[in-house]
Structure formats: C-alpha cells, structure tokens
C-alpha cells in the first residue's frame, strides 16, 4: 500500500513538474468565433514552450518556404518582440469604430490582440518570448539578400 502511495505521489509530482515546465512560458491562444450560421469556431490553446520545440520537427522544406515568404520580416518581428518584452504591461493600440473594436496590448509579457465586430471575434494571446524564439528560428531560413 505504501509502495503504491509512493508511486502515485512520484507520478503526481512528475506530472505537476512536467506541467509547470511546459507552461512556464505561458499559453499560446487563438480564439476565432463567427456568430453566423455555419460560422467557424477555432480555439487553439497551446503551451507556448512547445512552439519553438515543434519547429524542429517541421520539415526543413516547409520551413524554407515559410522563411522565403516571411523571413525578411523576421528581423523586424524579432526586434519588436525583444523590445516589447521590456514593456510587459502596456496599452499599445486601441481603435473603436462604431461596433468594431481592435485592441493591442501586452499583459504579463504576453501580446494580446483582440478584434471584435458584429458577428465575429478574434482573440490572440502569444507570449513575447515565444514570438522572439520563433522569429529567430524563421530568420535562419530567410533567403540571403
């Protein structure tokens, strides 16, 4: 009985530790909701720490394509993410136009983008450290200028 309890405790502690490690950089969250008939509802919640790791499993051909299209912007994204990490709590942009509302801010070191209009809402939350990591990875695949 004691042995089982020890195994259970060890397993539980491992799960807790693994969870804490996986979620140490926060959560990457994308929510898209269309409130029309057959409207799409996309909800992606991922531990941000797995994103840079997952890039290593993407075929290099695909990364090359991504780098070709977006690679030239990555130094800019990298600089922006790196600098924004110095402002973990900041209201950056807010646009209100009738029922349309766009809000871009940082909170707890996470970039939050909220866009709302009648019938559609988009919420994106991405830790700045993750943007920084991914932009660095993709910049390596940018075509040499």
């Amino acid at each position: 009985m004691v042995l089982l309890a020890k195994i259970a405790l060890g397993f539980g502690a491992t799960v807790v530790m693994a969870g804490a490690y996986t979620f140490r950089e926060g959560l990457l969250r994308v929510d898209v909701d269309e409130s029309r008939v057959n409207g799409s509802h996309v909800h992606v919640w991922l531990p941000a720490a797995v994103v840079p790791m997952a890039i290593h499993f993407v075929p290099s051909r695909k990364l090359g394509e991504a780098g070709e299209h977006a690679g030239k912007f990555m130094p800019l994204v990298h600089a922006l993410a790196k600098e924004l990490q110095k402002y973990p709590e900041a209201e950056l942009v807010e646009v209100q136009d009738g029922e349309q509302h766009v809000h871009i801010r940082t909170h707890n070191g996470t970039l939050l983008i909220d866009a709302e209009e009648p019938g559609q809402t988009v919420h994106v939350a991405c830790p700045l450290a993750t943007i920084d990591d991914v932009s660095r990875e993709l910049a390596d695949f940018a075509p040499a200028s």
Binding site: L76, K86, Y87, A90
Partner: protein, 204 residues
C-alpha cells in the same frame, strides 16, 4: 518506514515541491520588479484621434520612444533604411531646406511668417527653442485650428544625416530628451487629433 515518518511524508513531499517551484516564483517576481522599475524613465509618444461623427470613432496609439528607436533600424523598406528616410525634395523648388533651417535655428526668437487671408490665418514662430506653426481655418468652425510644436533640437537631429535624408532615429532620440510636450493638436468640426509626449504608458 515508521508511523511517524509515514505521516511526515506528504509534508516533506510538499516542502520539496515548494522548494523546487520557489525559484520560478522568485524569478518571476524579480522580473516584474525589474520591468516596473525600468519603465519609470520611459518616454511615450501618444497619438489620439477622436471623431465626433455618429460612430464616434477613436484611435489611441501609445509607443515607447525607446522601442521605436530600436525597431526602426530593423525596417528596410522602400525609402526607409537603417532608421533613415530618403527624401527626394530636400532641395524643394530651388529652396535649400537645410540652409533655411540653419538660418532659422541661428535666428533670434520671433514670428517669421504671418499669413492672413479670408480662408485661414497662418503663423510660424520660433520661441524658447521650439518652432510653432499655427493655422486657423476660417472656413470651418470658429475653433478649427492646427497647432504644431517642433523642438528645434529634434529638427536638427532629423537633418543630421546625409543631405537627402531624414534621420528618424536621431529625431526620436532627441525627442526623448524633451520634457512633456504636445507636438500636434488639430481641432475641427469632425476630428480632434493630438500627438504628445510624456512618461505615462496609458492615456486617460
């Protein structure tokens, strides 16, 4: 294992887990303290547009000047390279803008341009190291006016690059050295636009 130690086991496990997690918490707290301390000396450029139409459109933009200074050199697009914008008309219609500015910079304070017409009153003044442009549009409402205030040091920094370019990064750096200042104010029947500089990271 004795009964005594068996009872203590969960406590020990909890303490061990707490000890393992403690560094994460302390690190997070330290980071938060560092960021709030470093944020105290930051200069923020604010833009606010308020439309008085039925939709009540509002735009609020807050940009840390230091961020803009660091990010701009990373943009390499069209005329913007390395934080500098190439301007083709620095010698506009035979007027050498650089020489003109130099003349204004070294001149004493005073009102340089005054235009009074049926449409608008315009004045360009230099006062306390700042260039002030004031336009009163008479065709619009009584209060319709544009005010632009540019510190001379900022203009000087903007023109510090090559002859046909504006050094935006140098301009931002010079702007960061200024106190709280309202740079642009536009008021008319439809819109109110304000661009100003202060140390707050949010607008009211």
């Amino acid at each position: 294992m004795t009964n005594r130690t068996r009872h203590l086991f969960p406590v020990i496990a909890f303490l061990a887990a707490a000890a393992l997690f403690a560094p994460l918490g302390i690190q997070a707290q330290t980071k938060a303290n560092q960021s709030s301390t470093s944020a105290q000396g930051d200069r923020w450029l604010h833009v606010r547009v308020i439309s008085t139409d039925s939709k009540g459109e509002t735009v609020k933009v807050n940009v840390p000047l230091e961020l803009a200074e660091k990010v701009l050199p990373a943009i390499d697009h069209d005329r913007l390279h390395n934080g500098k914008v190439r301007i083709g008309c620095m010698d506009c219609d035979g007027v050498d803008v650089r020489t003109l500015f130099e003349a204004v910079r070294t001149a004493k304070d005073g009102e340089f341009v005054t235009v009074q017409s049926n449409d608008a009153d315009i004045s360009v003044t230099k006062k306390n190291g700042q260039m002030l442009v004031h336009v009163h549009n008479k065709k619009k409402s009584k209060d319709a006016q544009i005010e632009v205030k540019v510190p001379m040091k900022v203009v000087e920094a903007l023109l510090s690059g090559a002859k046909d370019e504006l050094d935006i990064v140098a301009g931002l750096h010079a702007l960061a050295g200024q106190g709280d200042v309202e740079l642009v104010s536009v008021k008319d029947d439809e819109n109110t636009i304000r661009v100003w500089l202060d140390s707050k990271n949010v607008t009211d």
